[in-house]
């Protein structure tokens, strides 16, 4: 999949874009956090953001998720300009960027169910979806555990499960491979590829070449001058 990078580059007019970025940059007090970058990602494809530490991968994801404003340029997710104040935008974008806040008093399956219910699902439907997610991420035997009882790798898997427990069109993940062993990384790659096959636009930052190769249709390399 990683070999067909160019196939996913949106070039032709009329193509449905998942993400469009035009001269986007972020700087604080003249110090650039993200140097000017432009790219497009087709809807229903996966793009990996690569670059050295400090190149601005997390900053780019945070800007695209509406968590911080850019100092220059513009970005669109789907047809919508990035603006987290817009309910339609919030409905469209899911993600795991930085620390995930777990509900300390709910078990894993209840947390996933609660996320589904909050987006309008009936409780039985949300419960079924939670069971399926726990199964996909290999957390079924931990379903009645509380989050503080998880190992760091299990917590990372659960964070990813939480991120996709809700409806979304575009998924943004910051280093999903963090703290995962080889087997879990393969598992995550399979899940992510499955989401893309179902029509999700995926944008993820990663340092792991195998994950990038297994999941992404193209890469966006960030550099620092």
């Amino acid at each position: 999949m990683g070999k067909s990078h160019n196939a996913a580059v949106a070039a032709s007019a009329g193509t449905a874009f998942g993400v469009r970025v035009d001269s986007l940059a972020v700087q604080i007090d003249d110090v650039p956090l993200l140097e000017s970058v432009s790219f497009d990602i087709l809807s229903g494809t996966a793009a990996a953001i690569t670059g050295a530490n400090g190149a601005g991968k997390t900053t780019l994801l945070r800007v695209l998720a509406g968590l911080m404003p850019p100092t220059a340029g513009s970005a669109h997710v789907g047809d919508l300009p990035v603006d987290e104040r817009s309910p339609a935008f919030r409905r469209m974008v899911a993600g795991h960027i930085g620390h995930t806040s777990f509900a300390r008093d709910l078990t894993l399956d209840e947390q996933l169910t609660m996320v589904g219910v909050s987006w309008g699902a009936e409780v039985p439907t949300a419960r079924e979806r939670a069971t399926a997610l726990l199964d996909d991420f290999g957390l079924t035997r931990l379903r009645t555990r509380f989050a503080h009882e998880l190992s760091s790798g299990q917590a990372q898997m659960f964070s990813l499960a939480l991120a996709i427990a809700r409806p979304f069109d575009v998924l943004m993940l910051d280093e999903p491979e963090q703290r995962l062993d080889k087997e879990r990384r393969t598992q995550v790659a399979r899940i992510l590829r499955g989401l893309v096959a179902e029509g999700t636009t995926l944008l993820f930052a990663s340092h792991n070449a195998k994950l990038i190769d297994a999941v992404s249709d193209r890469t966006v390399a960030l550099t620092r001058s």
Binding site: A65, L67, E84, P87, R90, R91, V93, A94, G95, H96, I97, G98, H99, T100, S101, A103, R104, D105, L106, T107, E110, T113, M114, V115, V117, S118, W119, G120, E122, V123, P124, A126, R127, T144, R145, F146, H148, L162, A163, R166, P167, M172
Partner: protein, 504 residues
């Protein structure tokens, strides 16, 4: 004994280490003495004179005062047994705790000194309170000098016994400590109201020794002394039965809390002591019911998974309701005291049911996790505390009205506690302290940045304290208060929404 010689060597090593200097100890003594003279003495004098005023004296020298003291003392024992599980008296810094937990020396030797230090601090604190109270009664002519001496001596004995109860809490399991505390609380409240009940319990014996102009109940003092001597024999066994992992966990928790406090992160410090869920993992927290009920059940079940927290919250809200409503049944000059205490009790108790607000606040600043929307999520999480306020504060306030408070003041108490929920919401949205506050503010009186940090950290509690005192003001009528509180709540909620917007 081999263990004694080993301990002696270890202590000598510690004493002789480079970092330790005699001037450290001298400085601590100097600061303590100066603080006592400059700050302590005026406060003690003001407290004695304040207690000796006619209005207050009518309460502290009233016929119900000994029974109230007995109940408070019994509840103190119960509280200390519970506290032992969080912060026991035999505690050291994390490094020494690890050493003690992992070495071969009997804990009756290694933990004796920290226990004695903690016990001494508790005894001194209780004796100081007793001395202030007894002195006030003596100044007002309501007690003889001999009864004052006997009362303070009895308080010292009670302090020692309370330290042993505290140690008991540290050495038994959480469940056992909760059961012991529950029994103590029920018995202490029961014996305080049952005629003749004071004769049967240690906390009743100190009540019998309450300073007065009557004869001193020497047998009660003798019984207390005998009880303390008997209980002291249990100290070595209790020290031995403290578990190593518990010891290190407590030390680590307190060390982390101290670090959070030193960096002015009081929320982080409190979070260290918020117990994690331990039971009910198979209870269904998410039920197939309408959304507002889903969230209420979710919060209720989640809360019950750390059972001691909702129990403490419910009891505290009962007390808060009683105190807040009592402002109309005590003399106007002292009405601020139950109002202030009630407000603080309500604020602290509602912290238990603010987990939902804290979680909503945490998730509000990231990529949306829940589909409710921030405002609706906060509102849904407010259901449980609101029901808790209506049930428990309402019950406490009604009890106060039975005891003489007006029904209108009971309604004000509930309305005020509902206002406290909105302050809790605002508090949950505060986020990290702005770094600008750490910048020094040089003035002729010194660096004022510390004051700003304290103000920022304690703003919610200060707001509640001021509002509680206003609640007791005679110039505000109950209907006016009932009309004002919703307006105040709206302003607080607006501030909370600003906090969320700023954090994004």
């Amino acid at each position: 004994m081999a263990s004694n010689s080993t301990l002696r060597r270890l202590r000598r090593l510690r004493r002789d280490r480079q970092a330790q200097s005699e001037s450290d100890l001298t400085y601590v003594i100097y600061v303590s003495v100066m603080l006592l003279l400059i700050v302590g003495v005026p406060i003690i004098r003001t407290a004695v004179l304040g207690l000796a005023t006619p209005d207050v004296l009518a309460l502290v020298a009233g016929p119900a005062a000994p029974a109230v003291l007995a109940a408070i003392t019994g509840l103190l024992f119960a509280a200390l047994v519970v506290l032992g599980r969080t912060r026991g008296p035999a505690l050291m810094d994390p490094f020494r705790s690890v050493v003690v937990a992992s070495n071969h020396l009997p804990r009756r030797h290694t933990l004796r000194r920290p226990f004695l230090v903690s016990a001494s601090q508790l005894v001194v604190a209780l004796a100081a309170v007793a001395l202030i109270l007894a002195s006030a009664l003596a100044v007002a002519g309501a007690a003889t000098a001999l009864s004052v001496i006997a009362f303070v001596a009895a308080t010292v004995l009670i302090g020692i016994f309370a330290s042993i109860a505290w140690l008991l809490g540290q050495s038994v399991s959480t469940q056992a400590s909760q059961r012991v505390a529950a029994v103590l609380a029920v018995v202490s409240l029961g014996t305080a109201v049952i005629p003749g009940g004071l004769v049967a319990t240690p906390w009743g014996w100190i009540a019998l020794l309450y300073p007065s102009s009557a004869f001193v109940a020497w047998p009660a003092l003798g019984a207390l002394a005998a009880l303390v001597i008997l209980a002291a024999f249990a100290i070595p066994r209790l020290l031995d039965s403290i578990r190593g992992p518990e010891l290190t966990a407590q030390a680590q928790r307190w060390s982390s809390a101290a670090t959070f406090s030193a960096t002015a992160d009081l929320a982080g410090a409190f979070a260290e002591f918020r117990s994690l869920p331990t039971v009910g993992r198979r209870w269904r927290a998410v039920q197939n019911v309408p959304t507002p009920v889903v969230m209420f059940v979710r919060d209720l079940v989640g809360s019950l998974r750390s059972p001691e927290r909702p129990i403490v919250a419910a009891l505290s809200l009962l007390v808060a309701g009683f105190l807040l409503a009592s402002t109309s049944s005590v003399p106007a000059t002292v009405a601020w005291a139950p109002a202030l205490l009630g407000g603080i009790f309500a604020f602290l108790a509602l912290g238990v049911w603010s987990d939902g607000f804290r979680h909503a606040s945490d998730t509000a600043v990231g990529v949306p996790l829940y589909g409710f929307g921030v405002v609706k999520e906060f509102a849904l999480h407010a259901t449980l505390p609101a029901v808790g306020v209506i049930v428990f504060v309402g019950s406490g306030a009604l009890a106060a009205s039975v005891a003489g408070a007006s029904l209108l003041s009971a309604a004000v108490a509930v309305a005020f506690a509902l206002f406290v929920i909105t302050v809790r919401m605002m508090n949950a949205t505060k986020g990290q302290m702005p770094l600008e506050l750490l910048a020094p503010i040089p003035t002729a009186a010194g660096d004022l940045s510390g004051m700003l940090i304290v103000l920022w950290q304690a703003d919610a509690l200060l707001l509640i304290s001021v509002a509680s005192i206003v609640l007791a003001s005679t110039w505000l009528s109950a209907p006016l208060l009932l009309a004002t509180l919703p307006v105040a709540s709206t302003i607080v909620l607006w501030l909370a929404s600003r906090n969320i917007a700023a954090a994004r």
